[in-house]
Each structure stands twice: as C-alpha cells, then as structure tokens.
Amino acid sequence: MSATKVILNETFAINHKYRVVLYIVKVPVSEKFPEGKKARFVLLHVDGYPRLLVDNHEPFGFHMHTQLPDDHGVRLELLVIDHDEALNIFLREVERIIANEDH
C-alpha cells in the first residue's frame, strides 16, 4: 500500500464570514488521479456551505465549482498545467467573491 503524503494543508479565515481551506495530498496513481495528486481548494462560508471549490479528479481534470451551494453539477474546466496555476486561479476568484460581497 502506498503511503499518502500531505503537500499542502492550510486554512485561513480571510474575514469573519469566510475561511479558505487548501489541501493537496499525494495519492497512488489511478484513473481518477493520474498525476498521483489530489487537490481540494475550498472557500467556506460561515453558513456552512462552500461558495467555491476547485478539485482535480478525472474525467474533468482541474475544475472549479462556481455555483455552490446551489448546483454542485456546474463545473468550469481549468486549462492549467499544474496545481500551482489552479491555486492561483482559485485565490484570485476568492478575492473577487470577497470584494463583491463588500460592495
């Protein structure tokens, strides 16, 4: 059995309403995770529902759930080469959501 290794495990309360949770773990290479890494970036609201989620399982590759919590089935495919790029897109989108809420 392959051991999993956590690459990224960070959490950050960006303000009193939202928390960002960033998680990347090495997993055995599989059909679902052909790169051997499972990523999950979440923006969580204090109402308990996520507002934004980026993950990377097949058949979608890196994708962003943009209409949470109402519709988990809406996915925006991210044309990125690795998790660094996916993380940057996620962080920018987090900032956009927070900024829009402030106005």
Partner: protein, 136 residues
C-alpha cells in the same frame, strides 16, 4: 498534573499567506498549518467572529458535553435556531465538528475540533516608524 490543551489563534496578512503558500509549492516544500492553530487575517475579523455567545457555546461543549444542539441550546439558555447557526459557523471556521449522532432524528452532536480547554490569542506585533529625516 493536568495538561491544558490550547487552541492557538494566530494572525497573518492575506497577501503574506498567499505568498508563503505559493513559495512553498514552487520550491516543492510542504506547507502545513500548525496543529491546533487557526489563522485569521486580523484581530478585528477574529473579534467580529468570536462573540461572547460563541465562547459560551464552546465552554458548554467542554464542560457539559451536550449530546445534541438542542441540548446545547438548553445549556446556554438560548433559542435553538440561533445556537444551531452559531454551531455551524464555529464548525465552518474550524473550532468544532458536528458529528452525526446516529439517531433517527438525524441530530448532530457538537464536539470540539480537538481536545482543547483554552483559546490563546497570539496578538501580532506591530512596528511602524515615521521617517523624519527624509521628510525634511
């Protein structure tokens, strides 16, 4: 001697957080939040979030171990809906977990995220200066 277990609240500027995480990934290093630590963007945001009522909820969970949110609401003598809303917020921010109690009513048992009995706030040290020589 009884050991006091502590949940640490630390503060970091959002930009610093982003840069730290990005740099760690770029350099192929792992980046993990310290165990038993929650990071907020500022003292103000922490204070906006952590009300006296939420602290009372945490104290009741530690001292009275309620089996459900309904029982917790009775312990803190508040309306169920408001206590439930506060519990969900405390879970979202990482202070507690709401576990399925396994009963037919699908009620949730509030538990601490880990076994702590104190919250320690690590205030950021702020240094600033006035550059008087250049202003002349």
């Amino acid at each position: 001697m009884k050991t006091i277990k502590t949940l640490n609240i630390r503060f970091e500027v959002w930009t610093d957080f982003k840069n730290r995480v990005r740099l760690a990934l770029k350099e192929g290093k792992s980046s993990n939040v310290q165990k038993g630590t929650l990071v907020f963007s500022s003292v103000t945001e922490y204070q906006k979030f952590m009300s006296e009522q939420k602290l009372a909820i945490l104290a009741a969970i530690i001292n009275k171990k309620p089996a459900s949110i309904y029982q917790l609401a009775q312990f803190v003598e508040r309306d169920f809906a408001n206590v439930q809303r506060d519990c969900i917020a405390l879970e979202a921010m990482g202070f507690i977990e709401l576990k399925d109690s396994g009963d037919t009513k699908k009620s949730k048992t509030p538990k601490l995220a880990f076994n702590y009995t104190r919250i320690e706030i690590h205030m950021p040290q702020v240094t600033y200066s006035h550059e008087l020589a250049e202003a002349a």
